[in-house]
Symmetry: D3
Subunit: 306 residues, 6 copies
């Protein structure tokens, strides 16, 4: 099949005009090599691991969600050189669909909502809002973890969650959370939850299900869909994030660790504190000396440091 | 004690000139009310929860790591109005120390390194590098979780980690990770780990120990330190993040959940897939129709959608 | 009455889309507190004096022409803290209408034109153009001073003025004066007349009737208009500018002042000049010295300074 | 004398490096024509009036405080063409000294302070601070009016003013007023006082003595100073601002004006109000109609407009 | 004829809305003097040479392709003063038509294409594409040189050129060359060919026929056209570029030059090389010394310099 | 030899701190591949032609004056892909030295001055000034053409040129020409001479000797210099510009061309003019029609078009 034909099909699946403005130069045909395409690889990222796999499967096109070069460059770094070399030597054209595919019908967010079993799914800006059988925050977190096969972090205990908004990738942004709130959403599922968002949206159950796990399904689905193209082989390259969660000891049923010295160090009451105390003492002593030099007559301040 | 005297002491603890440029307007005396200060509250954030607690303890000054107004405003939102009202009605001055206290001797990052039991701690840019008794990634993650009493997410399996770099808060930035690498660091502990960082630093063990848990100790330590000031009461206001981690089912020993319908939906092989399939089928049918209208003669493309 | 209802009414009176671009963030609901509004205060400015008066009259909403925070802030200055405290403690919501109300039908400029007794008033950009019974510049200045009860400054002697353009507030801008000229206007009434405008529009009679006196009537009129709202008390808070004009001695009929020493000092011919002479002599002597050092051989220059 | 020699002398009087950054391109030799200079004209502004006078006196150089072209141009407007023509035809070079001469020893602000009879004058940033025999705001305003032979506007009644800060031209800026306050200044004398400055500095006596009257003396003094140059004739071109002040009627002892119709119109209680009322009624009627169309069921709002 | 009438006619010939954005302030009436115009001069540039000629022919208007002031100024340089003086003293209004006249029907590029004898001319963006009788690059270059009476530089040997794109002035820009390529153009004729353009478009024959020679005909044509205006004399002022081409010796049939010493110096093999060698030797010796000081132990590097 | 060692040597030859600010990201190691370098290629440009040659000679490093990617990219164009592929597949690291090497001792401009046989060469900003045996513009142009084996274009006839300034590459900039003038230079030799420069520097002889021919010698010299490095083979890759000059017919002794039809077309007096006339007539007719519709009553204007 012609590369240009495939590009047209991809533009129908994820129309470029749906992309955010900042995606200019980050979507579409990033590197166009061979005119004829026989094998397509689909993956989340364009990096040397994925390109190596694509080369092994003799792909002549790689379609990813994240582009190869995010910020424009005029110096080719070592990792970029490694990726480019594989692409160029193996004639692998690169095509990227990002926020246009997030928003597209059947794209990242539609697939995510479906994968989580949401009902009555509807689009609201870039995200999707849907319903689930009422459950608690802990139950929903476990459900998300199961469905996406991923560790999750969550906050915001709720007893009865029935309406959920999802955005694959880095979707915890004030404007999207505001939309969620206006729509009576109980829980918001996305990734890369930041501290200030957590603090200002405590009324919602916020579930961080990792960037990888919320976007990868959408790329898998794209892969399935492209398999229907005639005369083309399409294969998915999975590159798991490798992320694992650890709960603090109370939740971990006091699992015994072979790290005794370290553990001792962090029993809140003693040694950690002591060494901290020591450090502060030391620092105070230094300050006293410099204070002494600087502000000899300043009784008040000197006293505090003694 | 005079507010101005306290400000001078705080400027010795966290010299304003140590702050990043972007912190202009975000550190120092954010709101100056009463000249005489008798009770100081210390906390991580300046928000209505913390201010309410500060008012209850009759504090007339609140010192935080994160300022009240991050982006300059000329419209006062509801949450900001709530916080400001408490501060103004109760005469609570606000003082903020951010990246200057991160960098300062005895500041956020020194305290974090000490709390984690690191040895031979030294400063490298904003972070701290130190040594631990050799352990694996899993062990270190558990150790961090224990020491900071926090859930963590981590990636990058390593068998023997002995050198660690720590940065409280959002420290997973390329330039800092580069410094870590140049210093032969095995593991990097910070928070708000993003996907692209994870992908480009797979050679390191990366431990996301949450923004709250990596910075809160530094503010607690500041509190202890200020307690030595004469004639002033100082109290810490803790506002835990409430974050909890959930590992995916394999790791959770198949905990039974009362969310059966949902769970069914996400057994990868069946219903989730089916409904996804359905959605894609539906979408394909729609596309066929629009294709039909748009490009009647285009055989190749129409066939793929059937 | 509901705050939101009042906001809708105010948006009909002064549609936000009429505002200049620079007014973004400076018009509309600046601080929204109580949902139910019973008493409205109207004033020109939002400052602590006005807010104190509003609190005394138990207003729960203050509508002003000038907003509380002009340039966005993240540090709360003392005066801003004072104003905010009164507003927050007394539950006074703040609403601001600026250039949108200048332009609006029945707004600042319509009221100003009417107050000055102009006939056949029509709108031209933000201003209003109308006719008066022919008079000289001095007569018109006195008329304006009477009508607005304000001191004025004016320039541009004309014997017969019959067409006038008015803009409340700081309206002496080249583009508006150009419009005036194109419309055959004889006199332009506004405030905050600057030197370069004065110099480049000497063909027009320019009357500076102060910012306060040209805008306050429009806010009074708004007050009267809102009084017709059912179930709401509305009151105007006047805060005169306190400006007074003094003409130079010739015009003041040699009023005797108890400031004899000072007066002596400024008799143009003698002491002022003398002390000035002295200063310049002194300075010259200093220059000679530095010249001497710097450019010993430069005969010409040194001679001039001797 | 050579033009370049004169330029060097002027650069000693007003060193270019003293100028504000925004004066780049606005100071120094703006137009350099004849190498030999025999007659210099000095004035406040460079415009066609001044240039005509300079040509009449056969000057071959004009030194002004305000430059000919403030904002860079590539289209020559009619007034600029008129000025340029006179300069070019008559071989009049143009030199401009602005904020550098404001700051310079013996410059605009030194001369202004001296002219006002201040004692113990010292420099603070661009302005000058000095002492006067204690007097009230009204007395000081009259004194300033006398000394500078100008109408003034003032605000801020004070009984005993003894410390004064002066800045010629447009000096009412927050940072300068802050400096005044920090120096215990009672009155601030400058020009182009704006409403927001007036409102936020009510603790100070603020005297607006016009741009012209506060800067012209400095240029006259420069003229006297240059007269000492050998073999050069130097003459001052005065272009008064023509500004006149009018106080409101109460202060003017009810001067009878031949503008009866107009006056009637502004008797606050009656006709002006009536026509305003009429206008508002009219407007309300229009609104009712549009309201009717737009929001038929909205009882509350419609009622208010009836 | 009225100046305004002429301006309207010129705006019909070269509609201002056809201009590139960067031409804002560079087209239209740049200097408007006399209302009545009797004699028009037309030229390529507005400079003192052209203005002197225009004054000699008693023109009261000068129409040029390039404006008088390209980058906005607030300082009048000597050359600008010279030009302005002539224009102002002789009452010569200035009007400029630039990229609007390039694009206009019958403008610079239409005239250029016609002058070169192109057939089937059509517009493509700013340029014109047309056909010629097939010829080689050398033949076309000679033809262009003949038609425009100009030296040319060209690159890109082709045997059979039949389709040509032309843009007067500085038209060798990637986007225009891309248009040329998309239209199957063999040769591109414009001026100010830069090295990077030459390197990236080696598949095209590129002919640099000088800025002057490619634009002057369009201004001559404008002149002819304006001659039809009633009651107006119109004259063209030609200011040739004076450019001459010299081919390297091989192409010049070894023309004997009276510059023997110089020539010796550049016989590639000997003296030039020698002196170069000497310079490099000298430099190496210096480097060795500084190397010696800086990196005494660095064997490898020192050796290379010996 | 180690790549890092070579980089250090290159940084001594052309210290990066000598580069213009705009060269950030355009100099230094642009692509670093193999640690060990055995063969270096040197060339003017980094493009696919040069890289192919470098690959053929088995170079593992290419040093050029112009970098591979001038404007930062995140999309890899076809030509860039071609170049990158050769570099990556053949392990050719890229290093670029631009304005730093122009300025460096023994760099582009020193070599150019020496190659032209200048005496008493000294540096002035980026360029070099030197002396030649007095000659005319034509003689100097021929000399330059000989020495650099390049066609040249020149303007500014002078009888006796003895002082010359040279800048390789695109050096005809006002600031450099001003330096030349201040140094009493008679002729300025550089490349890419633009029309506005030509017009404003008619007092100088300006010789455009092409970008290639003025910079290539500097790179050849670098090559010779690097040949002295131990254990490294260094080779120069020449890529001539292919530029040829053609003088207009008068100067070409009426060389007969086989392009008769075309030639006919450009005999100024006849057919070209005629077809131009025709076009203008046609256009006028169209304008009349549109004029007729638009401004029926406008007699004056319609008449001119008839």
């Amino acid at each position: 099949m012609k590369l240009t034909e495939i590009v047209h099909i991809l533009e129908e699946i994820a129309p470029p005009e749906l992309a955010d403005d900042f995606d200019t130069g980050r979507i579409g045909l990033i590197l166009g090599l061979e005119d004829e395409v026989n094998r397509i690889a689909v993956a989340l990222d364009a990096n040397s691991y994925v390109l190596k796999k694509a080369a092994e499967m003799r792909a002549d096109m790689l379609i990813t969600h994240h582009t190869l070069i995010f910020h424009p460059v005029n110096i080719i770094s070592k990792p970029l050189a490694a990726s480019l070399r594989i692409a160029l030597e193996n004639g692998i054209s690169l095509y990227s669909m990002h926020t246009n595919y997030d928003r597209a019908e059947g794209g990242i967010n539609d697939v995510l909502a479906t994968r989580l079993g949401l009902k009555n799914i509807r689009t609201s800006e870039i995200g999707r809002i849907g319903e689930i059988k009422p459950c608690s925050s802990a139950e929903l977190a476990a459900h998300v973890s199961d469905c996406l096969q991923t560790p999750v972090m969550y906050a915001g205990e709720k007893d009865e969650i029935s309406k959920v908004m999802v955005i694959g990738g880095s979707g915890f942004r004030n404007e999207y959370l505001e939309i969620a709130r206006e729509n009576g959403v109980d829980a918001f599922i996305s990734s890369e939850l930041k501290h200030d968002i957590l603090r200002t949206h405590e009324d919602l159950c916020l579930i961080d299900a990792t960037h990888y796990a919320t976007e990868n399904p959408g790329m898998e689905a794209l892969c399935s869909r492209l398999r229907r193209l005639p005369g083309i082989e399409v294969e998915f390259i999975d590159q798991p994030s490798g992320l694992l969660a650890v709960n603090c000891r109370l939740d971990r049923n006091k699992v015994a660790l072979d790290l005794n010295e370290g553990k001792e160090a962090c029993k809140q009451e003693e040694p950690g504190k002591e060494s901290l105390e020591f450090m502060l003492e030391e620092q105070s002593r230094n300050q006293i000396r410099s204070d002494y030099r600087r502000s000899l007559g300043n009784e008040n301040r000197r006293r505090y440091l003694e």
